[in-house]
Symmetry: none
Subunit: 254 residues, 2 copies
Protein backbone atom coordinates (compact mmCIF):
# COMPACT_ATOMS: atom_id res chain seq x y z
CA UNK A 1 0.00 0.00 0.00
CA UNK A 2 2.94 2.24 0.81
CA UNK A 3 4.31 1.55 -2.63
CA UNK A 4 1.19 2.74 -4.39
CA UNK A 5 1.22 6.04 -2.53
CA UNK A 6 4.89 6.47 -3.28
CA UNK A 7 4.34 5.74 -6.94
CA UNK A 8 1.47 8.16 -7.25
CA UNK A 9 3.16 11.02 -5.43
CA UNK A 10 4.02 13.53 -8.15
CA UNK A 11 5.83 16.81 -7.77
CA UNK A 12 5.39 18.84 -10.97
CA UNK A 13 8.47 19.62 -13.06
CA UNK A 14 7.78 23.33 -12.86
CA UNK A 15 8.71 23.31 -9.17
CA UNK A 16 12.41 24.31 -9.16
CA UNK A 17 15.02 24.12 -6.47
CA UNK A 18 17.18 27.17 -7.11
CA UNK A 19 20.65 27.35 -5.55
CA UNK A 20 22.02 30.90 -5.44
CA UNK A 21 25.81 31.34 -5.82
CA UNK A 22 26.73 28.04 -4.20
CA UNK A 23 30.41 27.99 -3.21
CA UNK A 24 31.07 24.25 -2.66
CA UNK A 25 30.47 22.06 -5.72
CA UNK A 26 29.86 19.07 -3.41
CA UNK A 27 26.75 20.79 -2.10
CA UNK A 28 25.31 21.01 -5.60
CA UNK A 29 25.76 17.27 -6.07
CA UNK A 30 24.37 16.46 -2.62
CA UNK A 31 21.37 18.71 -3.31
CA UNK A 32 20.67 16.88 -6.58
CA UNK A 33 20.74 13.60 -4.68
CA UNK A 34 18.46 14.98 -1.96
CA UNK A 35 15.99 16.18 -4.61
CA UNK A 36 15.93 12.90 -6.47
CA UNK A 37 15.31 10.81 -3.35
CA UNK A 38 12.14 12.83 -2.88
CA UNK A 39 11.10 12.97 -6.54
CA UNK A 40 11.85 16.66 -7.17
CA UNK A 41 13.21 17.09 -10.69
CA UNK A 42 14.28 20.62 -11.67
CA UNK A 43 17.53 22.07 -10.32
CA UNK A 44 18.42 25.65 -11.24
CA UNK A 45 21.78 27.23 -10.44
CA UNK A 46 22.53 30.92 -10.20
CA UNK A 47 26.22 31.75 -10.85
CA UNK A 48 27.48 28.49 -9.33
CA UNK A 49 31.09 27.84 -8.38
CA UNK A 50 32.65 24.70 -9.89
CA UNK A 51 29.79 23.35 -11.94
CA UNK A 52 30.01 20.98 -13.65
CA UNK A 53 32.78 19.05 -11.95
CA UNK A 54 33.93 15.75 -10.53
CA UNK A 55 32.90 16.59 -6.98
CA UNK A 56 29.39 17.53 -8.09
CA UNK A 57 29.00 14.20 -9.84
CA UNK A 58 30.50 12.19 -6.99
CA UNK A 59 28.20 13.67 -4.37
CA UNK A 60 25.15 13.37 -6.64
CA UNK A 61 25.65 9.63 -6.20
CA UNK A 62 23.57 8.59 -9.21
CA UNK A 63 21.23 11.58 -9.59
CA UNK A 64 22.78 12.16 -13.00
CA UNK A 65 19.55 12.91 -14.81
CA UNK A 66 19.01 15.89 -12.53
CA UNK A 67 22.52 17.20 -13.24
CA UNK A 68 21.97 16.72 -16.97
CA UNK A 69 18.84 18.87 -16.83
CA UNK A 70 20.29 21.69 -14.72
CA UNK A 71 19.59 25.22 -15.92
CA UNK A 72 22.22 27.85 -15.21
CA UNK A 73 21.43 31.56 -14.82
CA UNK A 74 23.60 34.61 -14.44
CA UNK A 75 21.47 36.17 -11.79
CA UNK A 76 18.44 35.40 -9.66
CA UNK A 77 16.16 37.76 -11.51
CA UNK A 78 16.72 35.75 -14.68
CA UNK A 79 16.20 32.46 -12.84
CA UNK A 80 12.85 33.54 -11.45
CA UNK A 81 11.62 35.52 -14.43
CA UNK A 82 8.93 33.01 -15.41
CA UNK A 83 7.96 32.07 -11.83
CA UNK A 84 4.63 33.03 -10.35
CA UNK A 85 5.49 31.93 -6.84
CA UNK A 86 8.92 32.27 -5.25
CA UNK A 87 9.88 31.21 -1.74
CA UNK A 88 13.15 31.90 0.05
CA UNK A 89 14.53 29.66 2.78
CA UNK A 90 16.28 30.49 6.00
CA UNK A 91 17.43 28.76 9.13
CA UNK A 92 18.16 32.09 10.82
CA UNK A 93 14.98 34.04 10.98
CA UNK A 94 15.78 36.69 13.54
CA UNK A 95 16.27 39.60 11.22
CA UNK A 96 14.02 38.57 8.39
CA UNK A 97 10.93 40.65 8.02
CA UNK A 98 9.34 38.65 5.22
CA UNK A 99 6.25 36.56 5.87
CA UNK A 100 7.55 33.34 7.46
CA UNK A 101 5.99 29.96 6.84
CA UNK A 102 6.95 26.50 8.03
CA UNK A 103 8.37 23.94 5.56
CA UNK A 104 5.15 21.95 5.95
CA UNK A 105 2.89 24.90 5.12
CA UNK A 106 5.20 25.88 2.30
CA UNK A 107 5.05 22.43 0.71
CA UNK A 108 1.24 22.51 0.60
CA UNK A 109 1.27 26.02 -0.79
CA UNK A 110 3.85 25.15 -3.45
CA UNK A 111 1.86 22.16 -4.67
CA UNK A 112 -1.34 24.18 -4.73
CA UNK A 113 0.31 26.83 -6.90
CA UNK A 114 2.04 24.27 -9.10
CA UNK A 115 -1.10 22.26 -9.68
CA UNK A 116 -2.81 25.47 -10.74
CA UNK A 117 -0.11 25.76 -13.44
CA UNK A 118 2.11 28.33 -11.76
CA UNK A 119 5.89 27.84 -12.12
CA UNK A 120 7.44 27.84 -8.63
CA UNK A 121 11.01 28.42 -7.42
CA UNK A 122 12.33 27.65 -3.96
CA UNK A 123 15.56 29.53 -3.29
CA UNK A 124 18.54 28.48 -1.20
CA UNK A 125 21.23 31.08 -0.50
CA UNK A 126 24.99 30.84 -0.48
CA UNK A 127 26.56 28.68 2.22
CA UNK A 128 27.73 31.14 4.84
CA UNK A 129 25.40 34.04 4.52
CA UNK A 130 22.19 32.72 3.03
CA UNK A 131 19.95 34.84 0.82
CA UNK A 132 20.66 38.55 0.58
CA UNK A 133 18.02 41.19 1.03
CA UNK A 134 18.06 41.72 -2.72
CA UNK A 135 17.32 38.01 -3.18
CA UNK A 136 14.51 38.14 -0.64
CA UNK A 137 12.90 40.99 -2.51
CA UNK A 138 12.04 38.52 -5.26
CA UNK A 139 10.25 36.22 -2.79
CA UNK A 140 6.57 35.91 -1.91
CA UNK A 141 7.47 34.42 1.42
CA UNK A 142 10.29 32.78 3.35
CA UNK A 143 10.39 29.22 4.60
CA UNK A 144 11.67 29.22 8.16
CA UNK A 145 13.30 25.86 8.82
CA UNK A 146 13.10 25.32 12.57
CA UNK A 147 16.56 25.00 14.12
CA UNK A 148 18.33 25.04 17.43
CA UNK A 149 18.73 28.78 18.22
CA UNK A 150 22.21 28.01 19.55
CA UNK A 151 23.35 26.28 16.34
CA UNK A 152 21.40 27.05 13.22
CA UNK A 153 24.20 26.10 10.84
CA UNK A 154 22.21 23.81 8.58
CA UNK A 155 24.16 22.34 5.66
CA UNK A 156 22.84 23.57 2.29
CA UNK A 157 22.00 20.10 0.97
CA UNK A 158 20.41 19.25 4.34
CA UNK A 159 18.09 22.25 3.98
CA UNK A 160 17.22 21.11 0.44
CA UNK A 161 16.57 17.63 1.84
CA UNK A 162 14.13 18.92 4.46
CA UNK A 163 12.16 21.06 2.02
CA UNK A 164 12.00 18.29 -0.60
CA UNK A 165 10.95 15.80 2.08
CA UNK A 166 8.03 18.05 3.00
CA UNK A 167 7.15 18.37 -0.70
CA UNK A 168 7.03 14.60 -0.97
CA UNK A 169 4.90 14.30 2.18
CA UNK A 170 2.48 16.88 0.81
CA UNK A 171 2.35 15.12 -2.57
CA UNK A 172 1.66 11.81 -0.85
CA UNK A 173 -1.03 13.32 1.35
CA UNK A 174 -2.93 14.29 -1.78
CA UNK A 175 -3.13 10.72 -3.02
CA UNK A 176 -3.42 8.86 0.25
CA UNK A 177 -6.76 7.14 0.42
CA UNK A 178 -6.15 4.73 3.25
CA UNK A 179 -3.64 5.39 5.97
CA UNK A 180 -3.37 2.23 8.05
CA UNK A 181 -0.86 -0.33 6.80
CA UNK A 182 -2.25 -3.53 5.39
CA UNK A 183 -0.55 -6.57 6.84
CA UNK A 184 0.57 -9.44 4.68
CA UNK A 185 -1.70 -11.87 6.46
CA UNK A 186 -5.00 -10.99 8.07
CA UNK A 187 -5.48 -10.34 11.76
CA UNK A 188 -6.44 -13.05 14.21
CA UNK A 189 -10.16 -12.90 14.91
CA UNK A 190 -11.78 -12.25 18.27
CA UNK A 191 -12.98 -15.84 18.33
CA UNK A 192 -9.49 -17.14 17.74
CA UNK A 193 -8.13 -14.97 20.50
CA UNK A 194 -10.71 -16.41 22.90
CA UNK A 195 -9.58 -19.93 22.00
CA UNK A 196 -5.99 -18.90 22.52
CA UNK A 197 -6.72 -17.40 25.93
CA UNK A 198 -8.64 -20.51 27.00
CA UNK A 199 -5.72 -22.72 26.01
CA UNK A 200 -3.28 -20.39 27.76
CA UNK A 201 -5.37 -20.32 30.93
CA UNK A 202 -5.67 -24.09 30.99
CA UNK A 203 -1.93 -24.44 30.55
CA UNK A 204 -1.17 -21.99 33.33
CA UNK A 205 -3.50 -23.91 35.64
CA UNK A 206 -1.75 -27.16 34.72
CA UNK A 207 1.69 -25.85 35.55
CA UNK A 208 0.44 -24.29 38.75
CA UNK A 209 1.24 -20.74 37.77
CA UNK A 210 -2.03 -19.30 38.99
CA UNK A 211 -1.88 -16.92 41.87
CA UNK A 212 -4.39 -18.76 44.11
CA UNK A 213 -6.68 -15.85 44.91
CA UNK A 214 -6.37 -13.90 41.68
CA UNK A 215 -6.80 -16.03 38.59
CA UNK A 216 -8.82 -13.33 36.83
CA UNK A 217 -6.27 -10.62 37.37
CA UNK A 218 -3.54 -12.74 35.79
CA UNK A 219 -5.58 -13.45 32.67
CA UNK A 220 -6.60 -9.83 32.39
CA UNK A 221 -2.99 -8.74 32.39
CA UNK A 222 -2.06 -11.34 29.81
CA UNK A 223 -4.94 -10.37 27.54
CA UNK A 224 -4.08 -6.71 27.75
CA UNK A 225 -0.54 -7.59 26.80
CA UNK A 226 -1.29 -9.98 23.93
CA UNK A 227 -3.97 -7.72 22.55
CA UNK A 228 -1.36 -5.03 22.15
CA UNK A 229 0.46 -7.27 19.68
CA UNK A 230 -2.50 -7.51 17.31
CA UNK A 231 -1.55 -11.00 16.19
CA UNK A 232 -1.88 -11.97 12.59
CA UNK A 233 -2.99 -15.45 11.51
CA UNK A 234 0.46 -16.95 11.24
CA UNK A 235 1.54 -15.56 14.60
CA UNK A 236 -1.64 -16.87 16.15
CA UNK A 237 -0.89 -20.33 14.78
CA UNK A 238 2.67 -20.10 16.05
CA UNK A 239 1.60 -19.28 19.60
CA UNK A 240 -1.01 -22.04 19.65
CA UNK A 241 1.65 -24.43 18.42
CA UNK A 242 4.03 -23.44 21.18
CA UNK A 243 1.36 -23.90 23.82
CA UNK A 244 0.52 -27.34 22.43
CA UNK A 245 4.19 -28.34 22.48
CA UNK A 246 4.60 -27.07 26.04
CA UNK A 247 1.52 -28.98 27.12
CA UNK A 248 2.72 -32.15 25.46
CA UNK A 249 6.17 -31.82 27.03
CA UNK A 250 4.62 -31.70 30.48
CA UNK A 251 2.35 -34.68 29.83
CA UNK A 252 4.95 -36.87 28.10
CA UNK A 253 7.05 -36.69 31.20
CA UNK A 254 4.29 -37.55 33.62
CA UNK B 1 6.61 33.96 18.35
CA UNK B 2 8.60 31.43 16.40
CA UNK B 3 11.63 32.16 18.54
CA UNK B 4 9.85 31.33 21.77
CA UNK B 5 8.84 27.92 20.45
CA UNK B 6 12.38 27.27 19.29
CA UNK B 7 13.79 28.15 22.67
CA UNK B 8 11.36 25.94 24.53
CA UNK B 9 11.76 22.91 22.29
CA UNK B 10 13.68 20.29 24.28
CA UNK B 11 14.70 16.85 23.14
CA UNK B 12 15.79 14.80 26.17
CA UNK B 13 19.40 13.60 26.34
CA UNK B 14 18.33 9.98 26.66
CA UNK B 15 17.18 10.03 23.03
CA UNK B 16 20.17 8.65 21.11
CA UNK B 17 20.96 8.64 17.44
CA UNK B 18 22.81 5.35 16.95
CA UNK B 19 24.87 4.85 13.79
CA UNK B 20 25.60 1.20 13.09
CA UNK B 21 28.95 0.37 11.42
CA UNK B 22 29.19 3.61 9.45
CA UNK B 23 31.77 3.27 6.67
CA UNK B 24 32.43 6.92 5.72
CA UNK B 25 33.78 9.08 8.56
CA UNK B 26 32.37 12.19 6.84
CA UNK B 27 28.89 10.86 7.40
CA UNK B 28 29.51 10.69 11.15
CA UNK B 29 30.51 14.35 11.20
CA UNK B 30 27.61 15.39 8.97
CA UNK B 31 25.22 13.45 11.22
CA UNK B 32 26.54 15.25 14.31
CA UNK B 33 25.97 18.57 12.56
CA UNK B 34 22.45 17.51 11.49
CA UNK B 35 21.65 16.52 15.08
CA UNK B 36 22.94 19.72 16.59
CA UNK B 37 20.98 21.95 14.21
CA UNK B 38 17.85 20.27 15.55
CA UNK B 39 18.90 20.15 19.22
CA UNK B 40 19.46 16.38 19.46
CA UNK B 41 22.42 15.69 21.73
CA UNK B 42 23.48 12.06 22.11
CA UNK B 43 25.34 10.32 19.31
CA UNK B 44 26.18 6.62 19.74
CA UNK B 45 28.42 4.73 17.33
CA UNK B 46 28.55 0.97 16.88
CA UNK B 47 31.89 -0.24 15.49
CA UNK B 48 32.49 2.92 13.44
CA UNK B 49 35.08 3.20 10.69
CA UNK B 50 37.55 6.08 11.05
CA UNK B 51 36.35 7.70 14.25
CA UNK B 52 37.70 10.01 15.52
CA UNK B 53 39.36 11.65 12.53
CA UNK B 54 39.93 14.84 10.60
CA UNK B 55 37.09 14.21 8.15
CA UNK B 56 34.63 13.64 10.98
CA UNK B 57 35.57 16.95 12.58
CA UNK B 58 35.54 18.86 9.28
CA UNK B 59 32.06 17.70 8.33
CA UNK B 60 30.73 18.26 11.86
CA UNK B 61 31.31 21.92 11.11
CA UNK B 62 31.27 23.07 14.72
CA UNK B 63 29.18 20.37 16.39
CA UNK B 64 32.23 19.53 18.48
CA UNK B 65 30.36 19.07 21.75
CA UNK B 66 28.40 16.23 20.18
CA UNK B 67 31.59 14.55 18.97
CA UNK B 68 33.17 14.96 22.41
CA UNK B 69 30.22 13.16 24.03
CA UNK B 70 30.02 10.27 21.55
CA UNK B 71 29.69 6.81 23.07
CA UNK B 72 31.25 3.92 21.17
CA UNK B 73 30.01 0.33 21.40
CA UNK B 74 31.32 -2.93 20.02
CA UNK B 75 27.93 -4.19 18.97
CA UNK B 76 24.34 -3.04 18.74
CA UNK B 77 23.13 -5.21 21.62
CA UNK B 78 25.48 -3.33 23.93
CA UNK B 79 24.41 0.03 22.53
CA UNK B 80 20.75 -0.68 23.18
CA UNK B 81 21.10 -2.62 26.43
CA UNK B 82 19.60 0.15 28.58
CA UNK B 83 17.00 1.26 26.02
CA UNK B 84 13.30 0.68 26.49
CA UNK B 85 12.30 1.85 23.04
CA UNK B 86 14.31 1.19 19.90
CA UNK B 87 13.40 2.26 16.37
CA UNK B 88 15.14 1.31 13.14
CA UNK B 89 15.08 3.45 10.03
CA UNK B 90 14.74 2.51 6.39
CA UNK B 91 14.23 4.22 3.06
CA UNK B 92 13.56 0.88 1.35
CA UNK B 93 10.60 -0.74 2.99
CA UNK B 94 9.51 -3.32 0.47
CA UNK B 95 10.76 -6.39 2.25
CA UNK B 96 10.55 -5.27 5.84
CA UNK B 97 7.90 -6.92 7.92
CA UNK B 98 8.35 -4.85 11.04
CA UNK B 99 5.63 -2.38 12.03
CA UNK B 100 6.32 0.70 9.88
CA UNK B 101 5.71 4.23 11.10
CA UNK B 102 6.27 7.59 9.46
CA UNK B 103 9.04 9.90 10.71
CA UNK B 104 6.34 12.22 12.03
CA UNK B 105 4.55 9.53 14.04
CA UNK B 106 7.89 8.20 15.22
CA UNK B 107 8.97 11.60 16.54
CA UNK B 108 5.83 11.94 18.65
CA UNK B 109 6.18 8.41 19.93
CA UNK B 110 9.85 8.89 20.79
CA UNK B 111 9.18 12.05 22.79
CA UNK B 112 6.28 10.42 24.60
CA UNK B 113 8.50 7.51 25.65
CA UNK B 114 11.42 9.78 26.52
CA UNK B 115 9.27 12.10 28.62
CA UNK B 116 8.07 9.05 30.55
CA UNK B 117 11.72 8.38 31.41
CA UNK B 118 12.44 5.63 28.88
CA UNK B 119 15.85 5.70 27.18
CA UNK B 120 15.33 5.66 23.41
CA UNK B 121 17.63 4.74 20.52
CA UNK B 122 17.00 5.49 16.84
CA UNK B 123 19.16 3.29 14.63
CA UNK B 124 20.68 4.10 11.25
CA UNK B 125 22.31 1.24 9.33
CA UNK B 126 25.49 1.10 7.32
CA UNK B 127 25.60 3.16 4.12
CA UNK B 128 24.93 0.70 1.36
CA UNK B 129 22.85 -1.96 2.97
CA UNK B 130 21.09 -0.37 5.91
CA UNK B 131 20.14 -2.31 9.03
CA UNK B 132 20.47 -6.10 8.98
CA UNK B 133 17.72 -8.45 10.08
CA UNK B 134 19.69 -9.10 13.26
CA UNK B 135 19.70 -5.31 13.92
CA UNK B 136 15.96 -5.12 13.28
CA UNK B 137 15.32 -7.84 15.82
CA UNK B 138 16.27 -5.33 18.50
CA UNK B 139 13.68 -2.82 17.24
CA UNK B 140 10.17 -2.10 18.40
CA UNK B 141 9.33 -0.55 15.05
CA UNK B 142 10.88 0.84 11.89
CA UNK B 143 10.69 4.41 10.65
CA UNK B 144 9.87 4.36 6.94
CA UNK B 145 11.27 7.54 5.42
CA UNK B 146 9.17 8.22 2.31
CA UNK B 147 11.30 8.22 -0.83
CA UNK B 148 11.05 8.09 -4.59
CA UNK B 149 10.59 4.37 -5.36
CA UNK B 150 12.91 4.79 -8.35
CA UNK B 151 15.73 6.31 -6.29
CA UNK B 152 15.64 5.66 -2.58
CA UNK B 153 19.36 6.24 -2.06
CA UNK B 154 19.11 8.66 0.82
CA UNK B 155 22.46 9.83 2.24
CA UNK B 156 22.99 8.65 5.83
CA UNK B 157 23.33 12.14 7.29
CA UNK B 158 20.30 13.26 5.25
CA UNK B 159 18.25 10.51 6.87
CA UNK B 160 19.49 11.62 10.30
CA UNK B 161 18.56 15.19 9.34
CA UNK B 162 14.99 14.26 8.45
CA UNK B 163 14.41 12.26 11.62
CA UNK B 164 15.95 14.96 13.84
CA UNK B 165 13.91 17.63 12.05
CA UNK B 166 10.74 15.73 12.87
CA UNK B 167 11.90 15.39 16.49
CA UNK B 168 12.33 19.15 16.67
CA UNK B 169 8.92 19.74 15.13
CA UNK B 170 7.33 17.38 17.62
CA UNK B 171 9.17 19.03 20.50
CA UNK B 172 7.89 22.40 19.34
CA UNK B 173 4.30 21.19 19.08
CA UNK B 174 2.32 21.30 22.26
CA UNK B 175 0.52 18.02 21.66
CA UNK B 176 3.45 16.07 22.99
CA UNK B 177 2.73 16.11 26.69
CA UNK B 178 -0.94 15.17 26.37
CA UNK B 179 -2.66 12.36 24.43
CA UNK B 180 -1.73 8.79 25.34
CA UNK B 181 -1.38 7.87 28.99
CA UNK B 182 2.02 7.35 30.48
CA UNK B 183 2.52 3.81 31.69
CA UNK B 184 2.63 3.14 35.39
CA UNK B 185 5.82 1.11 35.28
CA UNK B 186 8.85 1.65 33.11
CA UNK B 187 9.63 -0.24 29.93
CA UNK B 188 11.65 -3.45 29.87
CA UNK B 189 15.21 -2.70 28.77
CA UNK B 190 17.03 -4.12 25.76
CA UNK B 191 19.19 -6.22 28.06
CA UNK B 192 16.17 -7.70 29.81
CA UNK B 193 14.59 -8.56 26.47
CA UNK B 194 17.77 -10.39 25.44
CA UNK B 195 17.57 -12.45 28.64
CA UNK B 196 13.92 -13.18 28.00
CA UNK B 197 14.62 -14.31 24.43
CA UNK B 198 17.46 -16.53 25.60
CA UNK B 199 15.21 -18.17 28.16
CA UNK B 200 12.43 -18.56 25.60
CA UNK B 201 14.77 -20.05 23.02
CA UNK B 202 16.16 -22.53 25.54
CA UNK B 203 12.68 -23.56 26.55
CA UNK B 204 11.58 -24.06 22.95
CA UNK B 205 14.64 -26.24 22.36
CA UNK B 206 13.82 -28.27 25.45
CA UNK B 207 10.28 -28.99 24.36
CA UNK B 208 11.43 -29.76 20.82
CA UNK B 209 9.48 -26.97 19.19
CA UNK B 210 12.31 -25.91 16.94
CA UNK B 211 11.88 -26.40 13.26
CA UNK B 212 15.10 -28.37 12.68
CA UNK B 213 16.45 -26.36 9.76
CA UNK B 214 15.18 -22.93 10.73
CA UNK B 215 15.85 -22.08 14.37
CA UNK B 216 16.69 -18.46 13.52
CA UNK B 217 13.53 -17.83 11.57
CA UNK B 218 11.41 -18.95 14.51
CA UNK B 219 13.18 -16.67 16.98
CA UNK B 220 13.01 -13.77 14.54
CA UNK B 221 9.26 -14.14 14.25
CA UNK B 222 8.88 -14.34 18.01
CA UNK B 223 11.07 -11.30 18.59
CA UNK B 224 9.19 -9.26 16.05
CA UNK B 225 5.98 -10.23 17.80
CA UNK B 226 7.08 -9.62 21.39
CA UNK B 227 8.84 -6.38 20.50
CA UNK B 228 5.52 -5.08 19.26
CA UNK B 229 4.11 -5.41 22.78
CA UNK B 230 6.71 -3.11 24.33
CA UNK B 231 6.65 -4.93 27.64
CA UNK B 232 6.76 -2.97 30.85
CA UNK B 233 8.70 -4.23 33.87
CA UNK B 234 5.83 -6.06 35.50
CA UNK B 235 4.83 -7.76 32.26
CA UNK B 236 8.42 -8.74 31.70
CA UNK B 237 8.55 -10.32 35.14
CA UNK B 238 5.27 -12.08 34.48
CA UNK B 239 6.48 -13.65 31.24
CA UNK B 240 9.76 -14.74 32.78
CA UNK B 241 7.80 -16.28 35.64
CA UNK B 242 5.56 -18.21 33.25
CA UNK B 243 8.58 -19.54 31.37
CA UNK B 244 10.21 -20.62 34.63
CA UNK B 245 7.02 -22.39 35.71
CA UNK B 246 6.70 -24.11 32.34
CA UNK B 247 10.30 -25.22 32.51
CA UNK B 248 9.91 -26.54 36.04
CA UNK B 249 6.72 -28.42 35.09
CA UNK B 250 8.59 -30.22 32.35
CA UNK B 251 11.53 -31.10 34.60
CA UNK B 252 9.52 -32.12 37.69
CA UNK B 253 7.80 -34.71 35.62
CA UNK B 254 10.92 -36.18 34.15
Amino acid sequence: MKKVDDMQAQIPEHVSITLVTTMHPGNIGASARAMKTMGVKQLDLVAPNGFPGAEVTARASGADDILAQVRIFENLAAATSDCGYVLGTSARTRNIRWPLISPEQAARQVLRQAHAGTPVAILFGTERTGLSNADLELCHGVIAIPTNPGFSSLNLAAAVQIVCYELRKAAMAKVVTTSTPVRATSAATGEQMQLFYQQLEQYLRDVGFYHPGKPRLLMRRLKRMFNRIQLDQSEYNLLRGILAAADKAGKDNS
